[in-house]
């Protein structure tokens, strides 16, 4: 059923508030909202029929069947709808500018991706219920650049979209992309490494260098206490980032496909003394799930990407379910500006292929990616005290007929299907090639 805004004046107030945000003035009191009489999928505390959820000052203040709604706040009648935590995409390259890859060299952890905060893909992601994403560097490099974890605060300045408190994440990659297997340009062919064994060597070479660098700085810090004339060493942003990986301050998200390269990276990490936080894609993860779990890593995969390249030959849609069965924390990601709008369908694949319980499948786009990005204390489930990041679906998110009616970030309604026509038109005009 369609949902109506109960209070006509709210629309005008909302428009004003959003405009104020866009031009950088402080937000008006638009961070309060309540949804009543909906099926609330909390993820952590079961589903609540005929439930109400209240967000005040951007945080969830109440969830349950017998919840009183404070006077004066906007109320959405959720009759017939399904309310779930805002969807989190653990692997995206949406809304980035000035390059996805610094591919001139194979080790570039000093680089960080840059957010293009007005990219319409953010609005499209909101239309798919997505409220946060991990914007990763591309997979051209053995050790790529640093990511930005963002909230989809459409209309806000870039600075305001970074998800405070999230992990700092760096991209690693293995296999065909790094070795330029499908490259056609001579420049790419010249770049080391050109094989998987070269990738292994590159990791060892650079982390050994990073250890020397770390020691140089430790010696300096210890020595300068007694000898103030010691010259402060050169800061090398690349080696500094590698030492942060060694110390666990920079979390590794490793692009991977085949079981042999996954095992290679685990061995290299164990040798060199760092941890893989999350294996990305990890299409053969079902073959080495125990090893992944034992290393302490989690997995973020595709629903189904069989044979789209040679190294994806053994990809199967059961991967999510099988890894979950073996105790690996699993999320399903988009890695695509198109799939980011329908991650709920991707998660549903786990129910059809592998009989995942519905709530477990939903965790793969909520609580599990939240853990992988270090934001599970703030988002990923509907609990009192967590951020008011909410998606309102017209039917169960796994129903083929479902649509997102509202997407709420920090208690602000940033997507409202009933009002989206105007913007959709503008967004299409700005990007004629893109889907609305």
């Amino acid at each position: 059923m369609r949902i109506r805004i109960t209070d006509q004046s709210t629309r005008a107030a909302l428009a004003t508030a959003l405009f104020s945000l866009a031009i950088g003035t402080p937000p008006l009191a638009a961070q309060d909202v309540a949804i009543r009489n909906a099926t609330i999928i909390t993820i952590t505390n079961g589903d609540i029929q005929n439930g109400t959820i209240v967000v005040r000052n951007g945080k969830i203040s109440a969830v349950g069947q017998n919840v009183s709604i404070p006077v004066g706040i906007r109320v959405i009648d959720g009759t017939g709808t399904f309310v779930m935590p805002g969807i989190i995409d653990a692997h995206s390259h949406a809304a980035l500018e000035n390059g996805i890859n610094e591919g001139a060299e194979s080790v570039t952890p000093e680089v960080q991706v840059q957010l293009k905060n007005d990219d319409p893909v953010i609005y499209r992601a909101l239309a798919g219920g997505v409220t946060a994403a991990n914007l990763l560097h591309g997979s051209a490099n053995t050790i790529g650049g640093q990511a930005r974890v963002i909230k989809m605060r459409w209309g806000m300045p870039a600075d305001s979209m970074y998800f405070k408190g999230a992990y700092r994440i760096v991209k690693f990659a293995l296999g065909e992309n790094v070795t330029r297997a499908s490259s056609t340009t001579p420049a790419d062919e010249k770049r080391f490494p050109a094989t998987r064994m070269g990738v292994d060597f590159t990791l060892h070479y650079w982390f050994e260098k990073a250890k020397e660098y770390d020691k140089e700085w430790q010696d300096y810090r210890a020595g300068v206490k007694t000898n103030p004339n010691l010259i402060m060493p050169r800061r090398d942003l690349r080696l500094e980032a590698l030492t942060e990986i060694l110390h666990g301050d920079l979390k590794v998200h490793a692009h991977s496909y085949r079981q042999d390269e996954i095992l290679m990276l685990i061995r290299a990490a164990d040798d060199l003394g760092f941890k893989i936080s999350t294996f990305q894609h990890v299409l053969e993860g079902y073959k080495v799930a125990d090893e992944i779990r034992q290393h302490g890593a989690s997995a973020s995969t595709f629903a189904d990407m069989w044979a789209y390249k040679v190294e994806a030959w053994d990809a199967i849609p059961y991967n999510m379910a099988l890894m979950t069965e073996r105790g690996v924390l699993v999320s399903v990601n988009s890695d695509s500006d198109e799939r980011i709008r329908r991650l709920y369908q991707e998660a549903g694949v786990g129910v059809r292929y592998g009989n995942m319980p519905v709530n477990e499948a939903l965790k793969m786009i909520t609580l599990n990616p939240a853990k992988q990005l270090g934001v599970d204390k703030m988002v990923g489930s509907l609990e009192v005290g967590k951020d008011g990041d909410i998606a309102v679906f017209s039917a169960h998110p796994f129903s083929p007929n479902t649509m997102v009616d509202y997407t709420i970030v920090d208690g602000k309604v940033l997507f409202d299907r009933s009002q989206s026509t105007t913007l959709r038109k503008l967004v299409t005009t700005a990007n004629p090639g893109g889907a609305p």
Binding site: N98, E105, V111, Q114, P157, Y205, I231, L426
Partner: protein, 469 residues
């Protein structure tokens, strides 16, 4: 190439001093030829923003202002110009233009590019051909006997290139500047990463001699890339590369200090690129960042804070009105481009139109006013501003665009300040230009009526260093 750090600018503040310098061949630059001296009489004089002499005289001798005031005796032998009904203003300064400068992405000889690639991308690049994944270059064999080749300087990384030395405008370009009342320009390269140093020049005829007024006014930092796939090959790499380059210059400076003090430890590498960046990295020379979009301004604020840079200038600043906070965090002076961005290229346009409930075309939106109101908004927010044609063609529309900025909220006094006093300070030439005071260069604009910026008031005369155009 040896470069002059400071062109000899005759900035003596007394007429006597000026005359003395003019008669000292070999000590500093003297304009060639002889001057005609002028007395501009019965004219309204705006000596500086907000300072007006309703009816007075300006005496111009030997290219400089000799006297100004309500009751000035006109000396014998000068050309008298009765300018009743007109106003004379300080010549305008276009704080940033790339007109007449070579492009930092100009083509190099093919062999030079290949050598640069093999050397890890030219000066300023990371070496590291031998490091796996660290570069694409080919290492020299061990024990190679050949002497090292001279460093190849890529124009995008020519950190000590002086714009003032390289300024080579056409006569038409100079004339276009003067048509709009612009007598001085700030010179800022268009593109590159560290393309060189900002300078200042006059817009007089080239036949009059050297136009360059001041070099090393600032170190330009743009966010371009290297060519040919060398690191940094994309903007995100460039941002990291700039941070590392500044850190390297700071390290060089630490070594330099220790070396001079005789402290045991490393000695400076004397890498010309790192040394060129030292003054900026240590806060002595202003850093001129080229940035316009709201998020680019945030990046400048981040890099400034992280590197501890001082004296920050942001050139472009087209979306400054959307991110005043970043300019404040960087304690930056904004050189505001009057090349107003197309409204549909402004960050967040779609969202704003939606939020404002607008469905019309961009042109009639409130955003067009916001774009033109940028300079006014920044001035109101307390950000020091200078106005510039940066990114656009020279001159002719400069005054029209200032008028549009005034119509969108910039006060005329602020507009004059932003085209005289502030850019003069920024470019390090405030002793020589920016106001009508004795001793300064006779850079003057004579306009019919009482208001330089009012529509329909034609510019009657322009003087550059005392020469009448």
């Amino acid at each position: 190439m040896a470069r002059t750090r400071l062109l000899a600018v005759p900035v003596a503040l007394s007429v006597a001093g000026t005359a003395a310098m003019g008669q000292s061949p070999g000590r500093g630059f003297s304009p060639t030829g002889t001057y005609t001296d002028y007395a501009l009489t019965n004219v309204r004089i705006v000596t500086a923003p907000g300072k007006v002499i309703e009816r007075g005289t300006v005496v111009v001798r030997d290219g400089r202002i000799a006297a100004v005031g309500a009751s000035v005796t006109v000396p014998a032998g000068v050309v008298r110009m009765d300018l009743a009904g007109n106003s004379v203003y300080p010549g305008l300064i276009d704080a940033a233009t790339s007109v007449g400068l070579p492009s930092p992405t100009r083509e190099l000889a093919a062999q030079t590019v290949a050598q640069a690639g093999a050397a890890g991308g030219g000066r300023g690049g990371r070496g590291g051909g031998a490091a796996p994944g660290g570069g694409r270059g080919i290492p020299l064999p061990n024990g190679a006997a050949a002497p090292p080749a001279p460093p190849i300087v890529l124009p995008e990384l020519d950190a000590d290139a002086e714009a003032a030395d390289m300024f080579a405008p056409t006569a038409d370009q100079l004339s276009a500047f003067r048509t709009a009342g612009v007598t001085t320009v700030g010179l800022v390269f268009n593109g590159g990463i560290f393309p060189g140093r900002v300078g200042a020049a006059l817009t007089g005829s080239r036949n009059d001699g050297r136009l360059g007024l001041r070099s090393s006014a600032g170190q330009e930092i743009a966010f371009g890339t290297k060519r040919g796939g060398a690191y940094p090959s994309v903007g995100i790499g460039s941002y990291a590369f700039i941070r590392q380059s500044i850190l390297d210059a700071q390290y060089e400076s630490r070594l330099d200090k220790a070396f001079k003090a005789g402290t045991p430890g490393g000695r400076p590498a004397n890498d010309p690129f790192a040394r060129a960046l030292m003054p900026t990295a240590t806060g002595e020379m202003p850093a001129w960042f080229v940035a316009s979009k709201e998020r680019e301004l945030s990046r400048v604020a981040e890099i400034t804070k992280e590197m501890g840079l001082k004296n920050v200038v942001v050139v472009g600043a087209q979306e400054g009105w959307k991110n005043v906070d970043a300019l404040k965090r960087a304690t930056a002076v904004a050189v505001v481009s009057l090349e107003f961005p197309a409204v549909d290229s402004v960050s967040g346009r779609n969202f704003m139109l939606y939020g404002a409930g607008k469905t019309g075309t961009a042109d009639d939106s409130s955003l067009a006013r916001d774009v033109r109101g940028n300079a006014g908004a920044l001035a109101k927010a307390g950000i020091p501003i200078a106005l510039a044609s940066f990114g656009g063609a020279p001159g002719t529309t400069f005054r029209d665009r200032i008028r549009m900025a005034i119509a969108a909220g910039l006060s005329p006094d602020d507009a004059l300040k932003a085209t005289t006093v502030t850019p003069a300070q920024l470019l390090g030439i405030s002793a020589a230009v920016g106001t009508i005071e004795p001793g300064k260069l006779a850079n003057l604009v004579v306009v019919t009526g009482n208001d330089l910026f009012a529509s329909g008031n034609p510019i009657k005369h322009v003087f550059v260093e005392g020469r009448l155009y």
